[in-house]
Amino acid sequence: MNRLILNRQSVSSLVVLAGVVVMLAWSFTYTGRQAAFPLIVCWLMLGLGIIDVIQHMLGKGIEDDTDAAKAMHTHGEGAAPIVKQVMTIVWLAGFIGLIYLVGFLAAIPLYVFAFMMLAGRMGLMRSALTAVFTTAFVYLMFIQLLALRLDGGLLFG
């Protein structure tokens, strides 16, 4: 029996399989015509998900050296410490929260400036300028040219 491979790829296969099982269970809560398509899709995905887990955990049947596969893997490859990944998501979440609280026009310059200075360690000048330009672009393009209404969020709404 070959060793079971546990890497980034195979773990993701397991996680996805778990997700499929959840969706399948959820689909069972519906009846009749409504449930038809979700159930068919979930059953098919279950079969495919099991094949995927087997392929990645046992290393069977994967032609890892096709160029498409290589391209897909290198795209996501590279140094990606967990901390950095988490922080990237945290920055995004923070931006969304900021938008909710103070609205786009205040959130954008704050986010751009903070991101460039803290995450990117770019200088004060560049960060401020980029923040201003981005906000100006949004203002001119959306508010002036296209009359979009951007309200002030929870605090200034």
Binding site: T31, G32, R149
Partner: protein
């Protein structure tokens, strides 16, 4: 600034705020939002954009009336937005009757109660017409009643068109009628009818007039005498007076418990708009079907509609699986 002058300014500011709060005679003082519960480009959108500039003209003080698209949940998001807004006259909206009524009838949550909305007036009212493919043998209502296993085409479940179709089918005694639902828009199921996906369809005259004019579809009866279709009998003329109560109305409403003086200002401006000859010309160009009614009558129409659709509730349920 000395402490004394600071206090004086504060007292002045507070008293001004208090004064403006109670002086609704100064209404409107800032821009009014006119909520459209659908995306840009539909009939409701068009109606509001046609009305807004004239409303501005007929309101006292120079304020803007801003059309705001708030689509979502089939119109419920926009309706709920108006319903929950502060009753200060600065948020009004256009309502779809019976569209916004049906979810409650079908037992769904809505986030608004149409009986409590402050009605400012009705703008448009569209009758429905019963249609068949021009190539079909069905030429009169009697022919329709003789059909076995009638198939009606309509838009989504919960739509006004489906409700109208179900009510018509029931009234005409078509016991084994089936409904093919889910066509994305009125045009889609009109084409379906031309294609032969089904036998019958009910549609608002305004949406379907082009297909009648082009000769693709034949009108059998309508829910009211209509200038666009002078040769088509109304259901009431064919001994089905109850069906004439079916139509599609566009009403303007405001949040519940609107103060009377604010309501009067808005109602008045709307009434003047709907009588303004310049507006009538613009409405004509925009192909609006104007059937204006003042606030009180509009409210009465709403209550009447609620009763009609309540009465037909048993017919409007989902089909057996």
């Amino acid at each position: 600034m000395t402490l004394k002058s600071l206090c004086a300014s504060a007292v002045l500011a507070v008293s001004m705020i208090a004064a403006s709060g109670s002086a609704n005679a100064a209404f409107p003082e800032k821009d009014i939002q006119f909520i459209i519960p659908y995306g840009p480009g539909g009939g409701f959108d068009r109606a509001v954009r046609a009305i807004a500039p004239f409303l501005e003209k007929h309101l006292p003080n120079k304020v803007n009336v801003l059309p705001v698209n708030t689509p979502g949940a089939g119109g419920r998001r926009g309706a709920a937005t108006v319903y929950r807004a502060a009753p200060d006259g600065y948020t009004i909206g256009i309502f779809n009757m019976p569209g916004f009524l049906l979810p409650a009838i079908l037992g769904e949550e809505t986030g608004y109660d149409l009986r409590k909305v402050t009605w400012l007036g009705r703008v448009e009212a569209n009758d429905y017409v019963l249609l068949v493919n021009s190539k079909s043998d069905i030429k009169s209502l009697d022919d329709v009643k003789a059909v076995k296993n009638a198939t009606f085409l309509s838009t989504a479940w919960g739509s006004t068109v489906l409700a109208a179709s179900q009510i018509v089918a029931d009234a005409l005694g078509l016991k084994d009628a089936t409904f093919v639902t889910g066509y994305p828009s009125t045009s889609d199921y009109q084409v379906g009818l031309v294609r032969g996906d089904g036998l019958l369809a009910v549609a608002p005259i305004e949406s379907v007039y082009e297909f009648i004019e082009s000769g693709d579809l034949r009108p059998i009866a309508s829910t009211g005498k209509n200038e666009l279709l002078p040769n088509v009998p109304a259901f009431s003329e064919l001994n089905y007076p109850a069906l004439d109560s079916l139509n599609l109305e566009r009403l303007v409403g405001a949040p519940p418990a609107l103060p009377d003086d604010v309501k009067a200002v808005l109602e008045d401006a709307l009434a003047k708009t709907l009588a303004d000859p310049e507006f009538l010309a613009a409405a004509q160009e925009a192909k609006m079907v104007l059937r204006p009614l003042p606030g009180v009558e509009a409210g009465a129409r709403v209550t009447a509609s609620i009763d009609v659709y309540d009465h037909y509730k048993p017919v409007l349920g989902k089909p057996a699986e």
